[in-house]
Subunit: 303 residues, 4 copies
Amino acid sequence: MTTTPLRALNRIELQVDLNYEVAGPGADFIFNVHAARTPSQSLSAERLVLTPAVVSRTHTDPGTGNRYLRVHAAPGTLQLSYAVTVDLMHRRSDPAQLDEVPIDQLPPEVLGYLYPSRYCQSDRLLTLASHEFGALKPGYARVQAIRDWVHGHATFTSHSTNSNTSALDTLIDRVGVCRDFAHLMIALCRAMSIPARYATGTDYGADPTLGPPDFQAYVEVYLGDGWYIFDPSGTAIPMGFVRFGTGRDAADVAFATFFGSVKSHRPTVRALAVEDATQGWVRPHHCTDALSTDGGPATAPGG
Amino acid sequence: MTTTPLRALNRIELQVDLNYEVAGPGADFIFNVHAARTPSQSLSAERLVLTPAVVSRTHTDPGTGNRYLRVHAAPGTLQLSYAVTVDLMHRRSDPAQLDEVPIDQLPPEVLGYLYPSRYCQSDRLLTLASHEFGALKPGYARVQAIRDWVHGHATFTSHSTNSNTSALDTLIDRVGVCRDFAHLMIALCRAMSIPARYATGTDYGADPTLGPPDFQAYVEVYLGDGWYIFDPSGTAIPMGFVRFGTGRDAADVAFATFFGSVKSHRPTVRALAVEDATQGWVRPHHCTDALSTDGGPATAPGG
Amino acid sequence: MTTTPLRALNRIELQVDLNYEVAGPGADFIFNVHAARTPSQSLSAERLVLTPAVVSRTHTDPGTGNRYLRVHAAPGTLQLSYAVTVDLMHRRSDPAQLDEVPIDQLPPEVLGYLYPSRYCQSDRLLTLASHEFGALKPGYARVQAIRDWVHGHATFTSHSTNSNTSALDTLIDRVGVCRDFAHLMIALCRAMSIPARYATGTDYGADPTLGPPDFQAYVEVYLGDGWYIFDPSGTAIPMGFVRFGTGRDAADVAFATFFGSVKSHRPTVRALAVEDATQGWVRPHHCTDALSTDGGPATAPGG
Amino acid sequence: MTTTPLRALNRIELQVDLNYEVAGPGADFIFNVHAARTPSQSLSAERLVLTPAVVSRTHTDPGTGNRYLRVHAAPGTLQLSYAVTVDLMHRRSDPAQLDEVPIDQLPPEVLGYLYPSRYCQSDRLLTLASHEFGALKPGYARVQAIRDWVHGHATFTSHSTNSNTSALDTLIDRVGVCRDFAHLMIALCRAMSIPARYATGTDYGADPTLGPPDFQAYVEVYLGDGWYIFDPSGTAIPMGFVRFGTGRDAADVAFATFFGSVKSHRPTVRALAVEDATQGWVRPHHCTDALSTDGGPATAPGG
């Protein structure tokens, strides 16, 4: 398999602001809004401020690299302001070279992504997936066909779903947001015995008619020797995604999980692409290469 | 908190036999039938034989200690025969001393067990759990109340459910097997922000009218400084459980997951308790102590 | 069984206003907003105005007495204004005298109300119902116990549910509006082989903190020799309900069903009780008698 | 619209045997195993025997013509043996002449078949149906396209589903029996605002590899001026269906509904076609005409 590694190609200046009203007697938060550090995503100028300046605990999950921030907040307002400069240098591969990996050859840590999860009930979809995709040639192209099927079988409609919505709902209701497209695609991949995981971060290049920049959910599928990005919602430019977390589904990597009575305001997300020819930084753009956030040796980019 | 550690109290001689018919073009299996090695569960005389003698790969998950065996089987018969001698020395604690742990003080690796999973849709049960258990004093006794509620709200009926059955189904249908009782209890604990996980292994002391010895699913809840065993099905003697695996729910730790066309015969499980006063080995029995498989310093047992 | 018939006891002046925006190419409406004519509910000064004055067709269902109005509306605004004076003279019975009716003695036209329907999946609730209510003495008191159980197992919260919400959802989510309480009670009655149907109309005496007067959904259960009113939501005064329709569940008697692209504004409902001692008209009030809208000979009221 | 009426074309000799074991304290049965009398289906030599000879009550539903038999059975065995000679003379129409009927022109008694029911949750399928069938030309051909879609999106597998299985399940699981195919097709028709109902009876000409002759569930859709037969399971010859009942879905017209503890044996169904050129009786066969059981003037058959 050929891989075209690269040095930093995209620089994103990211700013996230979250605002909550905490009712008595206080509430616990688990945030996953730190950008992840991965071989293809390096960070600088990172700053996270909580107002009021409550005690917080952070830890990085050794399996996924997700960075979690825990806060116990007293009643009143809680604001979280996060800024970071993100350099992206995806590993790029030729889709034609990316095969599905037989189950007995998968890395052990990947096996968990074969199983059904809360919002991705792949165990119900074995027959459907086999019927729709079983005759296709295994490999990246088949996963792309699953992505296209999901994209064609649901309509993106803001606020059409809620936090209980699962892949089965989306299959029936045929409507959703990026989270729902991701869950359905993951469920179908797993139903075909292809490991798939849920990734969160920030979008880039999304159609402004869909609203201001926002958090984004997308999919990573294990093919060849790593995890490759897919965007079944088709709303943004995958190359510009800044990754926060990966998990089995939205249950694992909500940008904010809270315990207690909390009113949340709409988050504010800003993602600016820095262009600088002298640095080799270009705007994220659609490309035909397969993109991985797993990293690998840096080299000159393709398309 | 007081803890009464102990040396090996129970010895179980375990024998598991699995039989499959694999159709063309072959199938992949992921087994989780090895007994786990934990501070409170030590193994000897372990032997696993596959017939035919196909190549297999084993790995131990670093997070859970689960031992997975992968096999790619050709069409025909596949038999797995596993035998092991298991010495159990549960850590025992006084239930009155076991508190629920505030979210901001939970060990990071425990957080994942707060979230909903495929068969434990705790996100749908927040109001129900709060209504039923919110007024109870936090601690082991509240978890015991959840266990008793589940035990009282469903009837154990062999073969009444299937592999798609979830906690929500059990709440409605009020019938199930040990797997279903476990899923419902886990979902309710998580809905109360109490970490709970699914444990599998072999039963011991189950009422023979429920059938021959079998695999068992039960619950571990994080309280005080460790994971404690609960048996919401009430069908067996928890002290005699041999643990195979722990996970988010049955999706993670099926004793056998297969990919391909496979016909499975009913598994055979034998669990013999060895009694020997000179060794201090007694038959597993019901006791009022809280039992943990996490281990801790060994000392003389309580009741 | 003793029955205390009565002459008109309550007079309600009712006014309903509905407003819609119809998109191209037009839409079809089926309204069920006419008050029903029943032996215990007589109408006068009835007036229904559609603006614009589109052609409409009305029919009265021979089985239920429901009055349906069909309209094909062109794009633009559609207003429906309905006013009626309703005289109520419920048949009243002593609850202690009302027995459940054996299945082989039910009137044929009642049998359909034993079966599960879209939002009342009684076929899933046989075990639950038997477990919760099977040991109670059959009769009105048992139905009242079902009503109280539903009332105690969910919390009334405006806008907490939608038109897809079913009895199973309410059992899990423990929250809803009058429609949801009604569906759950109906499902549980049917699971006990007690005929139950869904009734719609207008509320009266509802707590103003729940919002302005509104449409109301409640339950009628077949006991003794007729259908008796129950209000599991506990939000209003059953004696003041004006009945529009009865059916299997909300699917049958939505006050408005539309086909096409329609934006609906919040309906306006006004229900005024006329008090006049010379006529014998009193304000609707809570009472301990069982109330039936089936009618029967009119006579002096009880409590 | 042209209609080709006909005189009796097919004669079926039908024999149905049902066997139950009733546990204490007895059970109630509602049977719907009498063949219906319709303009296109006439009966002779009808005989129904219950053993033991318990008291029974029959009634014919005025809306549907369904014939219900109620029995209260004591503990012990209950056998029902039913025999009838059925003459079929379907109304036949040219599919090209059968239009969908605008909602405001539907006969009032047909409206109820637009609404969702227990196993046909059309309210969840509006988007899916519109996406799949919205662009097709309205009429019989569009309904046939819905029928073909259902037939192509699920696999007939005996015993793959149960009495709780609904159209949404079939859409996900892609497997079922004739009942499930019928429910899904009905739900999709209603989601397109096309009235559809569930019909039960006996199959004829089914592939013997699917098992012995059995009860059959199929679909009737309101088009033009009547209800027309569709068989989405594709397992039998529609011309040979003997109709027992029609309803909203399987909840309304189970061949046997029981209340109490009952063990049922597999029913025995025999359906013999009588061929007699002198009478004009031919074997039921596949044909391209649209077939209605509503009747109409009898005349010579087409293909």
